[in-house]
Symmetry: C2
Subunit: 471 residues, 2 copies
């Protein structure tokens, strides 16, 4: 990584206090935030000092401080690398610490609590059924038949005829994507993705050795002409799209764009992977356009879904919808990835599908109320922010009016709100104008969270030399 790249990722950082402390704080933040990955080589002191227009001593002192804290380490004659100190704060939400019950409000995780008592009651009711099958070895690469059938039937009733053997159960949608990348992408292959994009979608492409090719989802949604041109020129082997309540923008891809992209992908020889994890969470059920998946055959337009957004992330039940032939190939690859699906929660999941219609209705109702609360709170407390009202999904994508999302995120932490900066969803430091706000909490928490964001925004508005350094 060179100085310019690091500066872009750092975004605007305050130079009000002691320069080296401020610089260290800015670097520490993007490390804990996940934007600067462990084992990244950071630029030499001299180069960074020159680029930032600060003294080399300041950079040396900042690096030294981070080295002492464990955020950097040196390799013999090979420069400094990002690391994580042994007890670095792993973001809450991805570390299971239910008893901690902190006063912090979590605006980072876009997921709902489990439906109760449905989930644990189902767990109890399922035990006798499972007990009839625990004499088996317990290895399963594609899913138990009852769950594959439940998922296939749900697609069929939703208008996409699907057989159980066209469904492969996975440990969530992210694992489904990992598996598809492992089978279909070789080192150096281009992979199309949206920008903004959830960082795990992007990181999985890089880990698979693929070269991400980003197409932008802006305020006007997907730019079909640009996507068509990108497909024809770059000819990616694979593309990842989220047409229904895109994460993080909340946008819905229009029917015509779906058709056009499906055609262009077919012409370019690009297989598409369509994530539909929140498609059911529509504020206006029945108003979504035909799924993108309907515009091609399931070997060329693959769907990945999960129960994590409608039911609970703690189940880790997701799936791939494609042809039986491709599932056979995926199963082979999967054997050496994780040896397959756990059995226990598959039986639970299959039974949860028996009352999935009711669950979806409840979720929609709750989310509609929470979305309304969030929108009203934002209009009330942060009238300068603008956003399109989402018509489904779990998140709102706010334009905060100035390219200071990273700074706002830092200020929010001081007020007890954990929220990732916009660039977490971008590539190399873009999206400083945006913030993703999930509405997965009860109204009172949302109102308090927005109140704290407004305080943080107010801190941010204090004049500082900072504004000179925006990118």
């Amino acid at each position: 990584m060179n100085a310019e790249q690091l500066a872009r990722i750092l975004g605007p950082w305050s130079r009000e206090g002691v320069i080296y402390e401020e610089l260290a704080a800015a670097i520490r933040y993007v490390i804990t935030d996940g934007r600067l990955q462990p084992d990244t080589r950071i630029p030499a002191e001299r180069a960074l000092a020159k680029y930032l227009g600060v003294s080399r001593n300041s950079v040396a002192a900042a690096y030294g401080m981070l080295r002492t804290e464990g955020y950097l380490h040196s390799r013999r004659g090979a420069g400094s690398y990002v690391s994580l100190p042994p007890r670095a704060d792993t973001p809450r939400g991805i570390t299971w610490a239910p008893d901690a019950a902190p006063a912090e409000i979590d605006f980072a995780m876009a997921c709902l609590p489990a439906p109760e008592p449905l989930l644990t009651q189902t767990m109890v009711e399922t035990a006798p059924e499972l007990a009839r099958h625990t004499d088996q070895p317990g290895y399963d690469l594609t899913g138990i038949p009852s769950l594959r059938k439940a998922i296939a039937d749900r697609y069929t009733r939703g208008g996409l005829p699907t057989l159980p053997e066209e469904i492969m159960v996975t440990g969530g949608a992210q694992q489904a994507w990992t598996l598809l990348l492992r089978l279909l992408v070789s080192k150096g292959d281009r992979v199309l993705m949206e920008s903004p994009v959830h960082p795990t979608v992007h990181n999985a492409i890089r880990h698979a050795g693929g070269r991400p090719v980003a197409v932008s989802v802006g305020v006007d949604g997907w730019d079909v002409d640009m996507i068509r041109t990108t497909l024809h020129r770059a000819r990616p082997v694979l593309g990842y799209l989220m047409p229904d309540f895109h994460n993080p923008t909340g946008q819905v891809m229009p029917a015509q764009a779906r058709r056009a992209i499906a055609v262009a992908a077919r012409e370019a020889g690009t297989r598409l992977v369509v994530e539909d994890t929140v498609s059911e969470l529509s504020a206006e059920p029945g108003r979504l356009p035909l799924p993108l998946t309907a515009h091609g055959n399931p070997s060329r337009i693959i769907t990945v879904g999960s129960m994590s957004k409608v039911c609970w992330g703690g189940l880790r039940v997701g799936w791939i919808r494609t042809t039986a032939a491709l599932i056979d190939r995926l199963a082979r690859v999967r054997e050496s990835l994780d040896a397959g699906n756990a059995i226990v929660q598959q039986y639970i999941a299959a039974r949860v599908f028996e009352s999935y219609d009711d669950l979806v209705v409840t979720r929609r109702r709750v989310l509609t109320e929470q979305r309304r609360t969030l929108i009203n709170a934002l209009r009330d407390r942060l009238p300068g922010w603008s956003f399109a009202e989402p018509t489904g999904g779990l998140v709102l994508w706010a334009d905060i009016g100035r390219p200071e999302s990273t700074r706002l995120s830092r200020a929010a932490a001081a007020h007890g709100v954990r929220i990732p900066a916009g660039p977490r969803f971008g590539i190399g430091g873009t999206l400083e104008n945006y913030l993703r706000i999930p509405y997965v909490h009860p109204p009172e928490t949302l109102i308090e969270g927005v109140r704290r964001l407004a305080l943080a925004d107010n801190d941010r508005s204090k004049p500082s030399r900072l504004d000179l350094h925006t990118v």
Copy 2:
């Protein structure tokens, strides 16, 4: 793949019937067996015909037959590639089909049925505990505290002092290996492994872009001098070893070898990963040498374990024992692999650990009886086979006296026994003298299975032109 490589993988194949049918059968077998992976390019007809000493027409007819069946497909001007037909028989055992109840005896899966009623009773008892925590988002990259503590405490009582934060829960030992490879291995890095080795260990290295460097585990166990030389010359970044009841040979690494390998790895800068999934399943508890892990610090000698062999594979609960610092880095990488652990079975697993001592005792008793039954049956029915009596674990590694394991495996299938040929545990067609036999079934099944193996062995003994083609 060239003709010589394919011939080596095919091993000896019968030329008694119609040549092209026999050749097609031999190729089909190594495809369904997993030794010839989908998307492998197979040699041109002319080259293979020349190498095998058969007519080009025979090869063309065999390829044509396989193409019709879906085992091969052509790419424009780029030759023929292995594929799997849509409804190819996925090996039983890795596809969850508990209601099929076939007459086939499964000598492929080395795993026990779940302990019942313990498992499903625990599931019922755990529901209220889980219900207190399902208001959480459900995302967890490192494991719930009670399970990390239960695993750490078990290591501590076993003589390896371990803190909960030095344990990362994973979806099984295979996933633990995938995760370690993803973090620690870059494209082209050398990775040490044993040969024979479980194929998923080997495949995971290849999928991670690593270059496997094999060290042999022969009848006399590990060749420490050779391993030392290999470590010093190849300087692999990572090595995978299974010192306790090595899979598939069942061997136990002597204490002195453990010390010597730990020292050599340290000198070579090689991190070691030690699998201890069956260490507790010893016929002579307390007689195992000190764990290899004890000879280094947990950042350089990492342990991967799981509940799959002692408890049940269907739980998919495994772990990594290393430093808290490395676990933090693994957690970051894991976010884009699968978004983490399911919560449900972790609570079950934590509770199962409360009676783990009893469970281990029961498993040892059952396995001792089954092992004795298998040994007696083999001595009785197949006196020409030789083997070391395993002192623990789940499998016996038999020398079948001639390099015809692939042919025997095919013959066994005709007698209703599913057992992988020895080369499944080798690299590129070696180990034709061996067969791995798990003793995870009740005595009557083991006796019947060996009876059928003897019938298959008898078929195999019929004279044929085959013997000319052994490798």
